[in-house]
């Protein structure tokens, strides 16, 4: 704890739609320390997606300074941004975005393919380790259509872990899942955060999900309106245990 992973200073992002200028972010500032589990909440149109794209180095702010692990993202070229995403960020998407007809192991290996300093042997070992971390070591040869939604999302999380990023960026990662599976995923996220010390930024619009994190940032109309530490953080594992068994089928 203590060192800053993210530092956002007055981030603004404007889009030109024909003659109109849409201001999606109107000066967002916050810091994230290493080891935090932050949820970013907001309704649609709040600038959530734009902020996520900026945090994920897919987009650059029009104005303001964004430091990711000490690197000023605003000054980087397209290729440098790609390298930064490869080394420092692990993405988890709502729709999993796994390659179809490709084994779980190969899906997890994918980010390492774009890292030339990693050998084939290292790649395999690290992908196996990541799959073990999401408890899918027995499903390495399964293709996405042989896995349940929750399992697919866990493969996606393993893929986000494999390059040992400084933060995991999840975009509505439980949006496609039922509540039980959502809690499973959140339990996994909490474990990664607490046991492995991973910094997690989780974008969601469900307050239920936000209650599992240590801090919640509320966004509205392109501005941060509330930034609170969660006093009574729930444990997803306990919630999962308290669910009635009959809920299963």
């Amino acid at each position: 704890m203590g060192n800053k992973i993210l530092e956002l200073q007055n981030i603004k992002r404007e889009f030109r739609m024909g003659s109109e200028i849409v201001r999606a972010l109107k000066g967002v500032s916050f810091d994230v320390q290493s080891g935090e589990f932050v949820t970013i909440m907001g309704s649609s149109g709040s600038g959530k997606t734009t902020l996520l794209n900026t945090l994920g180095c897919l987009d650059k702010p029009t104005e303001g300074i964004y430091l990711l692990d000490g690197v000023n993202v605003g000054t980087l070229s397209r290729n440098d941004l790609a390298r930064l995403r490869n080394n420092k960020i692990g993405f988890v998407f709502q729709a999993y975005n796994l390659l179809p007809r490709t084994s779980a192991l190969e899906n997890v290996e994918l980010p390492l393919l774009y890292n030339p300093s990693i050998s084939v042997k290292q790649r395999r070992e690290r992908a196996m380790k990541a799959l073990e971390a999401v408890k899918l070591a027995d499903r390495v040869d399964h293709t996405p259509n042989q896995l349940s939604g929750g399992q697919q999302q866990r493969v996606a999380i393993a893929r986000a872990l494999v390059n040992e990023p400084v933060m995991i960026l999840a975009d509505e990662a439980t949006g496609n899942l039922d509540s039980r599976t959502s809690f499973e995923i959140m339990a996994l996220m909490q474990e990664l955060n607490q046991v492995h010390g991973k910094t997690i930024l989780f974008v969601t619009h469900e307050p239920d999900i936000a209650s599992f994190s240590s801090r919640t940032i509320f966004l509205r109309d392109g501005k941060v309106i509330k930034d609170t530490m969660n006093e009574n953080k729930r444990s997803a594992k306990e919630v999962l245990a308290s669910l009635p068994v009959s809920d299963d089928y």
């Binding site: 790609a82 390298r83 975005n97 007809r101 490709t102 980010p111 774009y114 030339p116 390059n163």
Partner: protein
Amino acid sequence: MNVFSLINIALKALQRNKLRAFLTMLGIIIGVAAVIAMVAIGQGSKKSIQDQLSSMGSNMITIRPNSNVAAGVRLDATSVQSLTIDDIKAIQKQAQYINGVSPAASSRGQVINGALNWSTSIQGVSPQYLDIRNWPLKDGIVFSSSDVASAAKVCLLGQTVVNNIFAPDENPIGATIRFNKIPFKVIGVLAMKGENAFGQDQDDIIVAPYTTVQERITASIYFQNIYVSAKSEAVTDLATNEISDILRTSHRLKPTDIDDFAVRTQAELINTFSSTSQLLTVLLTAIAGISLVVGGIGIMNIMYVSVTERTREIGLRMSIGARGIDILLQFLIEAILISITGGLIGVALGITASKLVSIFLSWPTLVSESSIALSFLVCAVTGVFFGYYPAQKASRLDPIEALRYE
């Protein structure tokens, strides 16, 4: 990202769509196979024409009398008699680039053996004639120089003549036949040579010493032709010039006079026929080349579909760290893999097709290495050319939009 893992990625992407990859390949396969088979058929027919012409003796040079000028009037070429035994001697003595020389005094007439008769021509030549014409004996012996010196009444028969005046079970060797009432002893039978390039039956002939023909049949000191064989095909041009010089001297022509003889080589004939079949080859290749281009367009089409279909995959790859160049190379290598694999299969199919054509249609075919190399190169270039644009489109996608693409 090294090339090996790029190829790996591309292979896996193709494996996910095996049937589509194969159908795309089919265009290239057919194109390449067509180019190779067409060129093989074209080259084969060219080769067979060349072989036929060479069977007449590819280094053979023919000298004929040419039109002469008598008091300002140019006479018909056939009416002129200018070639004599002096010319033969001069050529034998002076020419360096030749192997052999033979005169030819010919005449037509009726040949009779017992109850059978046949109209044919007799060719009076020297013993070297058969070597010059590249014409082996099937049976018997060739007449000798002493037969020439003594104007012996001996002859060699062409196969057609044998077939027409001898019964199938009769041995012509040793028989005595009559040509224009003059008895000749048959001492040999020529091997079957078939028709020449103009459809003339080369076996319808009687060969005898030129002295015999000149003294007993034509009663003339002139020859219709002189046949010369150059030392090799490469020196035929040198030999031609040399013979021209020798004959001009021997005929005592002034520098201003035109030649009263004409020197022709087989090379001229070969060139004429080759250029015809060359044209055929070019046309066939052009048609095959078009199908290769169509195959290339097929690749481009499928690559476009593939890029659109896999927009989300591209977005994902970019979000986890693929640079534009990585995406470009991935799709480019996919296109090249399709075209090169298609090319390889096409080469195999093309060779097989040309073999089948030569076996079942008995058309001569000749698969040339250059056509294989060329069509393979063309399809690799096709892959790069038609794959580049879709790949570039993929590499320029915005990862944000690509990830959200439905």
